[in-house]
Amino acid sequence: MKLLAQLSRQLPDPSALQDLADELEKKYTVQDAPPLTASLSFYDSFDWRLYSDGLLCFRQGDRLSLTDLIGRELVPSLPISGEAPGFCRHLPDSALKRKLAPVLEMRTLLLQSSFSRTTRQLRILNKDKKTVAMLVLSELRVETGETDQPICSVQLHEVRGYEKWFQRLERALEEIGTPLPCTREQDLKTALAAKGCTPRDYSSKFSVPLKSDMAALTAAKTIYRDLLGTMRKNEQGILDDLDSEFLHDFRVAIRRTRSGLDMIKKVLEPKISVRFKEEFRFLGKITGPVRDLDVYLLMEEDYKARLPDHLQKGLCYFFEDLAEQRETEQEKLVQALQSLQYKTIIKDWKKYLRQKKKTEVAKKTPAIGIMANKIIRKRFERVLCDGRAIDADTPDESLHRLRIQGKKLRYCLEFFSSLYPAKEMKLLIKQLKALQNNLGLFNDLSVQQDMLNNYLAGLKPGSGKAKKMGAAIGGLLTNLYHEQQQVRTEFEAAFRCFSSQENISLYEKLFSSEQKPSQ
């Protein structure tokens, strides 16, 4: 497959484009087409899943396209109507949908940037009036940009079989403007830069750079500030109910903060610590019901696949009911997030985290490096000890508790990750994640069974609808129970991996009390 040569250069302003056009007309036979204006809108999930996967999704006119970062179409474009494309499941069945679905999952496509571009095509003709090279002069205007000044550029495109013409023009263009990558990705970056943004400006991954000699109070505040930032960024998406993951990320930030308040002890002033432990517990509580329902609603396809056709109708009623409940809970959640109580918590927390006056207080706290070693060691030993106590006869409760301990270990590894060698931390987190996956699945299955059991108990008998729902839920319960048993048998192998001598040695090496964290 032959890739045709392209070249792109940025020019200072529209008059420079005109100068170039005039210059070309003096030397070549040029066919000048009237300028065309088209708008282009880029879509991605809030956390840039497509871009992170090397994909770009955009709308031009009434078609939705999916390309790689260079701009090559990966699947045929799709005609669409309406505003934003929204969820993947709402797209018509197509190659584009199939390509998007596994990357996007439950997230909705949001408009990330849109711009209009006026292009003027100059065709260079030979003596047979055949096009032998093409130049595109373009002026890009970002619709939400701050200035009216367009971004001007010229692109030179090779026509297959006429390389010499391309090379001749290439030499002429190299003397003007500055080089610009000739890719779709560059279009996106240019458009975002006009708004002062960059791609991937939000990620649900936690990453805060700390230094081991930082005072513990300063480090803790840095961590909490980042988590608060995550919460704030997700707020609007929750209020607008765009997709389930805004609330999910919001809640993870709450849990991380709570974990931090628990684990990084005696650093914050006692009064503050007591108050905000309580406040964040409250935030966890008010955001719980919607998330719980979201989890089930996201399971819809999975549940359907677990049941034979004749039980599907009952399942349908069940999900309709859940969707209704969710609507009620969502309203309550919106009210809670708009309440004075919520606003006060956030305002006070933010104010506290900003305070820098009390440096002498910060200095009294130990260096975070030494503290991090202690915290991680303690958490690791706890998981190791609790996990070793579990065998085939241990009640389920112990596994649930171990899951919580695992989560705490995971959070502190992530908090302090920047203090240790990246490669080793990645390995530790990977090992822990395997164990967490097993425990998480076991817990999910048991919570789901409890919920279904309660739901079943609450069904009013008699109606045909209730019968159908009862049958479907009964079928699900059996299915989930068997899976849970299977997951439980897999625990031993998962834990054996986690508690391997190699892994223990690595923890000892990195977090021993004599060992100072490397920077």
């Binding site: 032959k2 045709l4 045929p76 055949k130 096009t131 090779e158 079989g161 006429y162």
Partner: protein
């Protein structure tokens, strides 16, 4: 990739106009398309204002691969490339004659183009020769522009006969009525006679000056006169053919 050969044993039936306009329509509807001008007269190349490289010869074409790809030229239209004609195509038959397994040779030559092009059109020279046989094997669809007269009828029957004898799948064959003058009774009668038959396409190409003028404009009709009767006809014909291609 689908290979669409435009062929007729007779010359002057609108073969090149059909190849040029349909390949343009294929490209205009978003498909990467290559038009191979296999006719030594090079009319397709002329319509696209393309001259072939002097060095290129029949031997090169049959070697396939790199030298073939190097000879491909971009047309003035997006998604549409052309493999220009070369006078040495006159020697193609002779060249093929000297090679073993020559019947399947063209199929192999076109194989490397699969990744790049969705549709490959072959504008074929008239008459039944070794090259035409190769084309029949390689093509997924053989499109026969056909002036509705008694003589054309005879040559069509001859072609069917030939297909039967050579064991080539006759389901590849499609007839499109070309240069149809609706005022002529003989044209009407012949079309009536064939109407509704399986291998006959519903859309027919009328005899109109816009198509004749392609030689002056040196552009496909749907490019310079998309709203004309001829322009619309080619768009409609391409929709019908596109539907058939999907059935394969």
């Amino acid at each position: 990739m689908a290979i669409i050969a435009v062929y007729n044993i007779k010359g002057g039936v609108g073969k090149t106009a059909t190849s040029v306009n349909l390949s343009y329509m294929s490209a205009a509807t978003g498909n990467n398309t290559l038009l191979c001008d296999l006719d030594p007269q090079g009319s397709s190349s002329y319509y696209f204002r393309v001259k072939s490289k002097k060095k290129f010869s029949a031997d090169h074409f049959l070697e396939g691969g790199n030298s073939l790809e190097r000879s491909i030229r971009g047309t003035d239209y997006e998604h549409l490339d052309i493999l220009p004609a070369d006078f040495s195509y006159r020697n193609l038959d002779i060249a093929l004659n000297h090679m073993k397994k020559s019947r399947k040779r063209l199929e192999r030559v076109l194989d490397p183009l699969t990744a790049e092009y969705r549709h490959v059109f072959l504008d074929c020279p008239p008459n039944i020769t070794l090259l035409s046989e190769n084309i029949f094997y390689a093509a997924d669809m053989i499109l026969i522009p056909f002036i509705p007269t008694t003589l054309s009828m005879l040559s069509f029957n001859k072609l069917l006969e030939f297909f039967k004898e050579s064991g080539i799948d006759r389901r590849k064959l499609f007839v499109v009525f070309s240069m149809v003058e609706q005022k002529k009774t003989i044209h009407q009668d012949m079309m009536q006679h064939f109407k509704g038959r399986k291998r006959i396409l519903n859309t027919f190409i009328p005899y109109v000056t816009d198509i004749e003028k392609m030689g002056i404009y040196r552009q496909p009709v749907p490019a310079y006169r998309p709203d004309s009767k001829a322009g619309q006809t080619y768009a409609e014909l391409w929709r019908e053919i596109g539907g058939k291609l999907q059935e394969f």
